[in-house]
């Protein structure tokens, strides 16, 4: 065990939250929160720089006893599947602080503390190698997120916060029972790596698969348990939406990759068609819902459902292109949708409306804003040269490899996304100027630029030269697939 880098990455925001409690002025709180998240981001870059792409083994591992009587350890580690998400979480952490700079004007300290605690827990979820630790982080996130939505959200925030809380809680409690069952079948350990090597009977795998599915499907969210998402997104403050869409949604899909596939390979293979079907439904259904929205945030929220459908489609295609594509697509979705929510937040701060119909001709008033909006809109609809194109192409080719019909349905979804995104862009940016704030609308300032630019850079970097990202993912995915197919052959 070398230098505990992952612990440091997780503890930095937690310690930062503790420090924030002693600060008095709001500005000091903002700068301190930004400082903490930037340091954390730098640490994750150090982690990625030292990441060995040649091995599928867990790296930067740490193990400490926690509750020895029950075989619970404090175990951390990352592999190609989780490394990118650790980085993404830290990146969006900084962006969220910047996005809340002026948008949050009351109880700033409590907000920033919630944000930092949230970040520590999310990082914990992605680097936990112990199921108990994973579950603790996964569930504890409900507390800060409940507060972020419920205290700083819009008018319907209380309802949205409740809905978010109860949906997620009910899902994860079943997951908890599944975890305990797994614990006893796996020789009384919560060690994820040991549990991956168990050969469970198919009956047990089936039950566990569905217990896990409930928890993960709520988080992704998959149709039909997606209804909390639009409410939560619309009511959440901008930073809350960025975190929800950028990181929280990834956790469900990450759960499939980390637990369902390697621990329950037979069930995963057996039920893969079912999962493909649900994913295809989500893609198309989410697309149609997005098409009908007038509220900007709702549109992006429904588009998330559709895009996350692509992710689960890629996972359960169970081939290399599908899996790599879906992991990359999760990263892309975090960047692009995070950026889109940021843009909705920026314009909302100025005009206090999210209705698409009340906008028009923004290009003439705020040219920089609309230019970047164009970039992220195009990225969201997967135009070649942007990040999502690479991911979506891989997912689609994987899906066609697995099942022709679902691949074809997914293509339909891709077309829908072009329709609603272009429609939105046309209404907002083009045509005669029609903004409630009038022609005096302020364009983006330097602070906002600082939040936008890194996201824009990743859109183009992944779009034009995805190799470094795919390299990180590749070895782990190949190994995972070998494991799944060799042990899932029983069917």
């Amino acid at each position: 065990m070398g230098f505990p880098l992952l612990s440091l990455i997780i503890l930095t925001p937690a310690a930062g939250a503790a420090v924030l409690m002693f600060l008095r002025s709001d500005d000091a709180v903002r700068w301190a929160a930004l400082g903490v998240t930037v340091i954390d981001l730098a640490l994750t870059v150090v982690m990625l720089a030292g990441f060995d792409t040649a091995t599928y083994e867990m790296q930067f591992t740490e193990t400490r006893p926690w509750v020895p009587a029950l075989g619970i350890t404090y175990a951390l580690g990352v592999d190609g599947i989780s490394a990118l998400f650790v980085f993404l979480t830290a990146l969006l952490g900084s962006v969220s602080v910047l996005a809340s700079w002026v948008a949050i004007d009351r109880r700033v300290k409590a907000f920033m503390i919630s944000l930092l605690v949230m970040q520590a827990l999310m990082l914990g979820v992605f680097s936990a190698l112990d199921l108990f630790l994973f579950y603790v982080c996964w569930e504890a996130m409900l507390i800060p997120m409940y507060l972020i939505i419920g205290v700083w959200g819009g008018d319907g925030r209380v309802y949205a916060a409740f809905k978010f809380f109860l949906y997620t809680l009910a899902g994860s409690l079943l997951f908890l029972v599944g975890v305990i069952v797994l614990y006893f079948h796996g020789g009384e350990t919560f060690d994820i790596l040991v549990l991956m090597d168990q050969d469970l009977p198919f009956g047990v795998q089936s039950w566990l698969f569905f217990a896990f599915l409930v928890a993960f499907a709520v988080k992704v969210p998959m149709v039909p348990v997606h209804t909390w998402l639009p409410d939560a997104h619309v009511q959440a403050p901008t930073a809350g939406s960025i975190i929800l869409a950028g990181v929280l949604l990834k956790m469900g899909a990450y759960g499939f990759l980390r637990f369902s596939l390697p621990m329950l390979p037979e069930a995963s293979v057996y039920y893969s068609t079912l999962m493909l079907a649900i994913s295809a439904v989500a893609i198309v259904y989410g697309g149609f819902l997005a098409l009908a929205q007038d509220d900007l945030k709702k549109l992006v929220a429904y588009s998330s459902i559709s895009h996350m459908g692509f992710v689960t489609l890629g996972i359960f295609a169970l081939n290399a292109r599908g899996l790599e594509g879906s992991i990359l697509q999760m990263f892309n979705h975090g960047i692009t949708t995070g950026a889109l929510f940021l843009f909705v937040g920026l314009i909302y701060e100025r005009t206090h409306t999210r209705s698409i119909a009340e906008y028009g001709g923004l290009m003439k008033v705020a040219p920089v804003y609309t230019a970047f909006l164009a970039l992220f809109t195009l990225s969201s609809m997967a135009l070649p040269g942007t990040n999502a194109f690479v991911g979506e192409l891989l997912v689609l080719s994987g899906a066609f490899g697995a099942n022709l019909a679902f691949g074809a349905v997914a293509i339909l979804g891709a077309m829908l996304s072009a329709a609603y995104l272009l429609g939105m862009y046309r209404n907002i940016a083009l045509g005669p100027v029609r903004v409630s704030a009038g022609p005096t609308l302020r364009d983006v300032n330097a602070r906002e630029m600082a939040a936008i630019l890194p996201l824009a850079a990743f859109v183009l970097w992944v779009g034009l030269y995805p190799k470094p990202f795919l390299d990180i993912i590749d070895t782990s995915v190949t190994h995972l697939l070998v494991e799944v197919h060799s042990r899932g052959r029983g069917q």
Binding site: A110, E139, L176, V177, I180, F184
Partner: protein, 479 residues
């Protein structure tokens, strides 16, 4: 009987003797004390408990049976006694200011709590149905009186009367069950019963006896179908007594239940099916009924019913882990419940009762620190990690799954999702509503101390459960 044996017996029950002696002295001293000096009584009571705790700790080294098999001091009893000490001391600390505000200026309040404590201690150590009965009666007689302590308030009178009548009925049932057992086996000692039984687990007379004993005990922990008294009593009693009753007597009831139910005789009679049904019904009723409460004391009353249901699942699981899980659950429950009640007690100031949930609107704005503590306790009660309440539930679930009760575990988690709703509803009122009034909580140093201790327990056991888990596991009787 030689003097040496007598000495051993006295030594075994020394903590009980200390508490009773202290209570008697305070009863007299309380009459002599001048007005304005009441706080001396409080500190003297705390001192009595601490001395008893010290004696318990020093004598905990070995297992000491005493009084011809009626009484035993083992690690199991010691564990529970410490839960009682904790609850009693914290209740004393909370009571001082509250008693002043409510006009409870008399020393009997503290004396009765001490007698109640001694009754619970006897229950934890009792190994004979008769000594259980003695402890039980001593405990409940004191709580009857304490419930009615707000003499000028109708609710309090009503609660006390209800409690006495229903309590007497349940005690009668318990005694009837004991008499049946005696008729069947010729003994009331828990150990002796097994040998004397016919060996037929479905002996109808035995089943009847078990049902009566179960009914008597279930009443004390407020489980369905003997729960009706609980919300009224909790609402009517002085808030400090509500806090005390929802923790200590409940733990004492579970101590007895564990001893009696996991006795070979009763374990043989397939009683766990009844117990499992009681657990499910208790938890369901507590969780659903709490959804519609507007009074926080009633809400916490139903919440305590729900928690009793969850702890019963640990009894159902049985075995080493099952017993340990119930013990750990009760310890953690003591911390978080006393924490919530500390806040509720503190709200009572001047003409403000702080009992209606909407009264808490916007509390987070004026008192962020206290509101955060409240959030901590409530999320802990809801069982959200990383608080201790999660670990308590988690360990019960582990015990259930270990014994193959997966379906029960699923029921338990679904019902706790329901229960989570009403806890976070209170959080919502505290954090997401605008304040309607100026808060002036009666935050005395002793209340602060209570809050600090309960918060440390709630978050500390949640983050570092290992030591407490070992403590519970090594305190299981027989091991």
């Amino acid at each position: 009987m030689s003097a040496a044996v007598l000495y051993q017996w006295v030594l075994a029950s020394l903590p009980e003797i200390l508490v009773v002696t202290g209570a008697c002295i305070l009863l007299i001293a309380g009459q002599l004390i001048r007005r304005g000096q009441e706080h001396l009584i409080v500190w003297a009571s705390v001192a009595v408990v601490l001395i008893a705790a010290l004696a318990t700790f020093l004598l905990a080294g070995e297992v000491r049976p005493a009084y011809s098999g009626m009484f035993i001091v083992d690690r199991f009893a010691v564990f529970f006694k410490f839960v009682f000490y904790l609850a009693t001391v914290l209740t004393f600390l909370l009571s001082r200011k509250y008693a002043e505000i409510e006009g409870i200026g008399i020393s009997e309040y503290y004396v009765l709590l001490l007698f109640c404590l001694s009754g619970m201690m006897i229950m934890a150590s009792a190994t004979d149905l008769l000594s259980i009965y003695v402890g039980l009666e001593l405990m409940v007689l004191c709580t009857y009186v304490l419930t009615g302590f707000l003499r000028r308030e109708r609710r309090s009178n009503e609660a006390a009367l209800k409690y006495v009548i229903l309590g007497a009925v349940s005690t009668g049932m318990f005694l009837y069950g004991v008499s049946l057992v005696y008729g069947l086996t010729g003994t009331t000692a828990l150990n002796g019963m097994t040998a004397a039984a016919t060996g037929d687990p479905r002996d109808p007379a035995l089943l009847l006896a078990v049902v009566f004993i179960v009914a008597g005990l279930v009443f004390k922990i407020g489980a369905v179908p003997f729960h009706m008294w609980l919300p009224d009593v909790y609402e009517g009693a002085p808030t400090t007594i509500t806090a005390f009753m929802s923790v200590a007597p409940k733990a004492a009831g579970f101590a007895v239940i564990l001893r009696v139910f996991l006795n070979p005789l009763i374990a043989a009679s397939d009683v766990w099916i009844i117990v499992a049904a009681i657990g499910v019904m208790t938890m369901a009723l507590g969780s659903f009924a709490a959804l519609v409460q507007d009074n926080i004391k009633r809400l916490l009353a139903y919440s305590s019913i729900a928690h009793a249901g969850f702890a019963i699942f640990g009894v159902v699981a049985g075995g080493q882990d099952g017993i340990a899980s119930v013990m750990l659950y009760l310890l953690i429950y003591a911390f978080m419940t006393l924490g919530v009640f500390a806040v509720v007690v503190m709200m009572r100031n001047g003409d403000f009762s702080g009992e209606a949930i909407p009264d808490y609107a916007g509390f987070a704005k004026s008192h962020p620190g206290l509101a955060f503590l409240m959030l901590l306790y409530l999320f802990s009660l809801a069982g959200i990690p990383p608080t201790a309440g999660f670990f308590a539930k988690f360990y019960v679930l582990v015990a259930l799954v270990e014994q193959g009760f997966v379906a029960l575990a699923v029921v338990a988690v679904l019902l706790s999702a329901v229960a989570a709703y009403f806890y976070i509803r209170v959080v919502m009122v505290i954090y997401m509503r605008e304040p309607e009034r100026v808060f002036d909580p009666a935050l005395t140093p002793s209340v602060r101390a209570t809050l600090a201790l309960t918060a440390a327990g709630t978050i500390g056991i949640g983050l570092f459960p290992a030591w407490f888990l070992r403590l519970a596991q090594t305190s299981v009787f027989g091991g």
